[in-house]
Symmetry: C2
Subunit: 242 residues, 2 copies
Amino acid sequence: MSQDSPTYSPLYRQIKGLMLQALEAGEWRPGQVIPSEQELAARFNVSQGTVRKAIDEMAADNLLVRKQGKGTFVASHNDPRALFRFLRLVPLDGEISHPESVPLECWRARAGQEASRMLGIKPGDPIIIVRRLLKFAQKPVVIDEIYLPGEIFQGLTLEVLQGWQGSIYSLFETRFGLRMIRAQESIRAVAADRGTAEVLRVPEGKPLLSVERVTYTYGDKPVEWRRGLYLTDEHFYLNELS
Amino acid sequence: MSQDSPTYSPLYRQIKGLMLQALEAGEWRPGQVIPSEQELAARFNVSQGTVRKAIDEMAADNLLVRKQGKGTFVASHNDPRALFRFLRLVPLDGEISHPESVPLECWRARAGQEASRMLGIKPGDPIIIVRRLLKFAQKPVVIDEIYLPGEIFQGLTLEVLQGWQGSIYSLFETRFGLRMIRAQESIRAVAADRGTAEVLRVPEGKPLLSVERVTYTYGDKPVEWRRGLYLTDEHFYLNELS
DNA sequence: AAGTGGTCTAGACCACTGC
DNA sequence: CAGTGGTCTAGACCACTTC
């Protein structure tokens, strides 16, 4: 969000802070309605307009979703509209096809230097590593390697991943109560190594997009680090600059 | 009763429309102050709050910049803060260095199929093509090929480009009265061809980022199409997903 | 009809800038 | 100090959803 002067924070920002606490504490859960603006105004002893402004910012942050006539809801990755919020890969020909996620492996390990730095944990802390393939129209397009803090994702196994219908963040949210709210991607071009080339069925040395992502949950806490290799023969990474 | 028209638009949106017209017409120019909220409210015969909401949206769209105590200004590419709004390339080591733009060529041509489609002009219409190099810390990192509608950019020459200190969009704005407000990038991984490899001083076949960009001015009119090839050995393309 | 968010207004006051 | 944008309030009314 924008930056606060250290000495002054308007009322609606403080209300926003209280509402963020309610979200973090799990008082309001993804997909559910939060209390009406009137109720919140009464609860926090401010006017409805002030609550509105707090909600406005949180909606702009993709934390809440307003629905006229129905109420204000906690944003959820189970919402189909959220599917392509983090996946920016688009087919060249414009044909919209939903990707199929194929989990390949899932194993336990200990965090090395890089993983610990990215995930904000100590080197040697337990982590879980997932390898999975993303297919568009039967064709393998992305191979992902996903690093997760073991402490948070206890009970995550290949079977759990394979049994889940829906996006991986939808699984994280439903099964581990963890909502991803923000991510940062670093993109480079690399040459396919032998293993990757085999899985994606391309020649070794083929140029691929390397997309490294760190994903954050409430309180800007990093909870996922992943590296994806994207085959961009029939798809491209779409980015809106505004 | 009657079918609700999909054309309902609240008052503040209509005000926004009027203000957009003022921007397009050049009544308010980049970098300048626009009238105060009070004056605008009087001019449009609405309350200050309604003007505020229109300005809020335009500020969120990066069309205006609010400065407390001073006024509201038309956003400008001459503002140093706008420099990295469209260039997402960041050094690996975090060292912030300003890129140096080196124009290589600038020639006239006629739009082919692709260029005409991207620029919203007719095939055969005059276009201008610019090739330029972007250097970070003396090292060539990006080679750009930029396609511009000839009608708008009359008088653009290599000398003009070479004589300009500052970003290319800042030149477009100052010299051609054209403000870029939005862009869309399509990113892929490709292998360097011989010519590119020489300019970037890398081996032929080297994986590079191919970044195709269409840039829009007021009224969502496309006015630039460019393709950049990025060397990502010591830099990466940074993208915030939120 | 009742409840929700969305708009519009009017007025008071606060924080920041520049003279 | 006056002028700007920024906040906060209270109330009226509109548009949409549900019963």
